[in-house]
Structure formats: C-alpha cells, structure tokens
Amino acid sequence: MKTELRTALRIGLLGGLVASHICLVGMLETFAKRNLIGDYLSMGYLLLLTLFLFVGYKATQVAQKAATGLLCAIIAGGITGASLSDLVFLTQNFQLREIFAHASPALVKLLTLGQSKSLGLLIPIVSGISWSLFGGFFALLPKLWRRVLLNTLLLTLLLGLLRDILNSLLPGDFGKTLFTSSGLTYIGAGSSLFCGGILIWAFLTYREQQKLKPETSESRNSPLQKLLFSLLILFLLTFPLWSKSFLSNVADSVGLYIIMGLGLNLVVGFAGMLDLGFVAFYAIGAYTMAVLTSPSGIFHFSFWQALPFSMLIAMSGGIILGLPILRMRGDYLAIATLGFGEIIRILVISDFLKPYLGGAQGITNIGKPEIAQFTFKNPEHFYYLILIGCLIAWFIASRLKKSRLGRAWMAIREDEDVAQAMGINRVTTKLTAFAIGALFGGLSGAIFASMVDSVVPKSFDLLISINVLALIIVGGIGSLPGVLVGAVVLVGLPELLREFQEYRLLVYGAVLVTMMLYRPEGLWPEVTLQHILHKTAQPEFPVRPLPTPEKK
C-alpha cells in the first residue's frame, strides 16, 4: 500500500510537471484555438485530458487491488490538477510573465474555464481527479474492451484532425452535419464513436479468431482484403482529383520521403549500416537535375534526359562514399556518413562551385517533365509522377528483399564475419546496398528539384537525413510497409497540423521517445523483430510450402 501511494505521488508530480510545461510553453493556448469536437472540446483541452487519463491509468495499473488503484488514480490526478491550480494562483498573484511569456490571463481563463478566483482554483483539481478516475476505470476494463475503447477514441481524434481531407470528400450538406469548420460536430463525433466502436470491436474479435486458425493461402487473399486493397488503389489514383491543392502538396512530400525511406531502408534496415548522411544523395540528385536542365547552365537537357543522370550520379556518390567506409561499423560508420552529408552541403555553398551551383542563391528555372504536349506543373501533376516513383522503388526493394542479395544484406547485418565465412563478398554486397539506396535518394531529389522549380542549399540540411532515419525507425526498421506508415505519421501528419508548427519538434521528440520506450519495433514491424524485442515466444510457424519451379 505504501509503495503504491508513493508511486501515485510520483506519477502525479510528473504529470503536474508535464502539464505545467505544456501550459508555460504556450502549447495549451495555441492548441486551444482549434476546436476538434463541437465548439467546446479543443485540441488544448484534449491534450490536458489525455494527460489526466494517462496519469490515472498509470497509477491504477501499478496497484494490485482495484480499490487501491482507483484511490491512487484520485491522488495522482489530484496532484496533477493541483499543480495546475498552483500555476493559476501564481499567475494571478505574481508577475510570472516576466519569466514565462505564456503565463497570461488568457491561460488562466482557459484553465479556470473563466470562473472567478476561488472557484476557478478548484476547477483544475476537480477535473484532474474526475478524468484520472476515468483513466483508472479504463485500466480495470478487460483487455478487449480497453483496446476497442482506445482505438475508437483514436479514430475519432484522427477524423477530427483530418477534417480537411474528409470534408472535401463528402457532399456539402452531409459534410456540414458531420464537420465544423475545424473539426467534428457533436453528431459527427457521436456517430464516429458509435460506428467506429462497433467496427473495431468486430475487427478485433475477428482477428482473435483468425489467430487461432492456421494461416493458409486463402486467408491471406480473402475477398475482404481484396476489396480493401482495391479501395486503397482507387483512393491513391484519384486523390488529387478531389482533394485540395494543399493536400496534394502534402502527399507529394510524403511520397518523396517514401522514396528516400525505401532507399535508406536498404542500407539501414536490410544491410544494417547506420547512414546519417543520406541527404547527400538527395542533394546530388536535385543539383544534377538543376544543372542539367536550367537555362542558365550549359546543358539544356529535358527532364527525362536529365533524370537518368541524376540517378546515376547519385549512385556513383553512393559508391564513392561506400568505398572508404566499408571497414567501419556502428558508431564510426554513422559519424563518417554524417561527415559526407555535410561535405556535400558545404561544397554546394562554397565559392569554388558557385559559378556552377549558384552558391547560397541556388539554381532556378528547373526543367519540368513533359509527356507529349502535357507539362507537369502543379502539385497535382507531380503527385502522379511521385506515385510512380514510389511504386518502382517499392517494387525494387521488395523484390531485392526476397532475393539472394537481400539475404546476403541481412547476413551482413546479423554478423559480418560469419557472412564472409559463408562466402558472401563484403565489398560488393555493401556497395550494392549503398548504390541502390543512393539511386532512390537521387530519384527523389531530382523530382523534388523539378517540382519546387529551384534548389537552394538550405533545403538539404542534416534534418532531412534525421527525418528519413526517424521515419524508418518509427515505421519499423527493415519493414517496407513500415516506411509508408512512418512517412505518413512523421511527414504527413505534421504538415496537416501546420498551425502548430512552433511545437512540431517538441511533439516530434516526445513521439520518438514514447515510441522507443513502448514500441521499439515500430508501427508496422517485421514479424521476427517483434518477438525478439518483446522476448515473447515465437508462435509455431507452419512450414512454408516449397515454391514450385513452374510458377512464373
């Protein structure tokens, strides 16, 4: 009992710290400007609410008995709430604004719901306790219900966030009943909770039953999956036709990151070489395209003529980088690749190459792809080009993964010495990974250059390498679908939430830390990795049937 109370105290204090932090950096105020459900539940409140729920959930989870658990939740939630009341009190009575610019009357009004002094101070505590109690009840639910509830809430949140995309899909009147100008209406939220809940419940129970049955080739290609797959293709093909230009723009960046992610995944995920300088190949691809097609240059190539050069020169870059660092492993390799990325960026802004690459001003007027009389101009046009690029990259990566070369990469990742003792040539195997990865980076860069019509050194900083690496890790290292999921989550969602731009990196960091703690294998991991990281027993795999030589 005593340890449980101590834990509750600790969780409460931590919660209070996080809550105060959120308020004092101004996140609450900014987030409160966007209403997600109706006119009342804003993103800001949702943030605090989630925190309270989580505090209550965590406090209850550590306790053994249900009653003690709920008591712990009340204590932890109370402390978290009290620290907010404390913040309100301090803001009202002292000049906190001199230190914390965001400790303003507006913040006080948000936290006290606009109530008068004494009542206002009670409000954070009371809401803290009550929401933590809900969190506590949530922890006591059976597992299936917990998952249904959690997923339903996440779904509703997502629908609210993706309002812009979804609303443009729906006919006007119907859209108005479900969506407000920034989120869901009460009707919309209610129906999402109700329908989503039923669907998710059905899906989870169905999957539990499926798990008991042995996997057969039929269950893999069930009609339901075929239907979902066709819907997905239809969605992808028609996306720019019904969405706004802004959304096509977002989809384009996601697509470019997917191509890069698939490339870097060959190097980091398959062959296990940590590369922090991937942006170099992106930059090489983009600058090659720029130099070859820009009217200010000497070549005047068309986009299609320049594209193969972009890819090939990026690939040579990969080989040139690969050669000296073949013997390096782990940390040393990461530092060396980091250096390569910086070298390329600094070469580009150097005075030496300024006559050719334009220095800090970069190169403008880059060639646009043309097919017959049609010119790719706006984001909607480029969307299709990028989609094709993604498909080709996906095709190559997935085929290579299942080949002799893919197996050799994985052997090098697992144990380089043993791989060599098995007759695998370390040099060529590693270099192919670098070369093909760089090729994808070059492709992505070339399309990017043509799309934005200008290249400047600023677009190729270290953050791009980090982003690509992070999306691979968040998606699930070595997993191809993981790259897609990672790109959508880390590139797509932040673009959609532009209004919170200031806090983007803060949230980004928090997401990465949470992911690595609770789901280190990524969102869509490789099957085996999941079992290794969670130390669970491997399920009995059925022996895979032999592929037949006749199959084409």
Partner: protein, 257 residues
C-alpha cells in the same frame, strides 16, 4: 593424399608469438584433431586457414594452391567451411534461411533475375529450399525449417551450424569445439554425426576439441600444439602415451624437455 598443407606458419600479435613455424598436413577423408592447452594458438590457426588472419610467414596450400591473399569469402567458396566455438548463427533468421545463406556462393541468380523473378529465380528458390531441407534432415533437424535460429535448443544450434557449413559444399570442414557445453547424450550424438560427415559425405574434418573422449574416439590423426608450436603428432594411442603431451597438459613443471 594431402588435402591441406601448412608450411612454416608464423603469426605474431605484437610481442606474442601465437604460431611459430607450424607444419601441418591433413590427409583427405580423415578426421584430424588439433589439441593443446588454452591459448596454444589453435583458434589463430583456424583464423589463418579461413583468411581472417593473415600469417606473417609461411603458406597454406589447399587443393594444390596457396590461399595466401585470398579473401575470407573466396576461401569459403574454394572449399573451407567452419563452425564457431561460441555458436555464431544468424540468430534472427529461420533455420532454413541460415542454411540457404551457406549456399550463397553457389547460387547463380543476378539482380535481373531477382527483380523480374525469372524462371531461373523460381527454379533456384525451389532447389535451395529442397537442398536446405535435405541438409537439415542430415543433421537431424527435419521439421524445424521455419523456426527462428535463436529459439532452437543449444544442441540444435550446434547442428544447425554444421548444416550451414555443409551448405557451402566444402572439401574441408573446420569444427571448433563442437562438443563444448554438451551433456553426455548430446556429446554422443555429435560423435556419430561427425563420423557420418566423414564416412557418408567423404569430408575431411579438422577438429579442435578439449573433450578427450571425443578426440580419442574420432581422430585418425592428432596434432598437439603448445605456445604456437607443434609438440607432437600421431595416432590417438601414441599421443596418449607421449610424455611431452602429458607435460603440456599438466603444467611445465613436469616437463623434462
């Protein structure tokens, strides 16, 4: 006929002389053991044979050709396969994937075949899977093709290492303490398996082992090394009676030399 000859092999690590003028000849289709106290240079000798260490002096002739200057992967394809003292499997891959990796050097498919999954690709996938099943059955791992290597029992992991080495289609198989950490029953099974490798597959085996019962039962020839030097060579019965060998194992004080 001699399959492998080492002439005057010397290897230094700084001031330490790991191998000193080692002469060794391995006859075809025999089980040849190398024994000696810890730190005698046995593993260094293995590393020289597989190309992971380059000897300072001397040369190794395998199948009538010097392997000096060959990379480890070239030596592996040329016909020398090994297992490790502390098991080194590709732990996160399945049993059959481990074996298929051993076949890597013999496979023909190239980038084009892999990208377009040509008939040759399917033919080869089919053959490698069958070959993996056959090799796994040979070492007694039938039905365990799809298990992740890390989840196999200790004894099975040792067998898998042998199966993976066999996939290289070696002429010479180096076994580094295959019976280490095994109980008597597992040790006996390992004995039988090693004999089958020689008798049924016609392999030549170079064995490092501390377990004297295994060494004495299996070996056609034994070489004893100490401080990187050969101190005795002969058939098991002769080695057991050799006073120098006994001295090396019991400590220098008993030595008369």
């Amino acid at each position: 006929m001699a399959l492998l000859t080492a002439n005057g092999l010397t290897k230094r690590f700084g001031g330490l002389l790991a191998l000193k003028d080692l002469e060794l000849t391995i006859q075809e289709k025999t089980i040849h053991s190398v024994i000696g106290p810890n730190g005698a240079g046995k593993t260094t000798f293995f590393n020289c044979l597989t190309g992971f260490s380059i000897p300072d002096q001397g040369e190794i002739i395998f199948l009538g050709q010097s392997i000096h200057g060959m990379r480890p992967d070239q030596i592996a394809r040329w016909g020398i396969a090994r297992t490790y003292q502390n098991i080194r499997l590709f732990a996160n891959m399945t049993t059959s994937e481990n074996v298929i990796l051993g076949m890597h050097g013999h496979l023909q498919t190239n980038l084009f075949d892999a990208l377009f999954q040509t008939p040759r690709y399917w033919q080869e996938e089919y053959e490698t899977q069958k070959e993996a099943q056959r090799l796994l059955a040979f070492v007694g791992l039938e039905g365990k093709e799809a298990i992740i290597a890390a989840n196999l029992s200790y004894g099975d992991q040792r067998r898998l290492e042998i199966a993976r080495a066999l996939a290289l289609r070696p002429k010479l198989l180096l076994l580094d303490e295959p019976a280490a950490g095994m109980n008597p029953r597992e040790t006996n099974e390992m004995l039988t398996l090693t004999q089958r490798l020689r008798d049924e597959l016609g392999l030549t085996i170079l064995l490092i082992e501390h377990h004297m019962k295994v060494v004495m039962t299996l070996s056609d020839m034994i070489t004893v090394i100490d401080f990187g030097q050969k101190i005795a060579e002969g058939q098991p019965s002769a080695i057991q009676a050799n006073p120098q060998v006994i001295a090396a194992y019991l400590g220098g004080g008993a030595s008369t030399a």
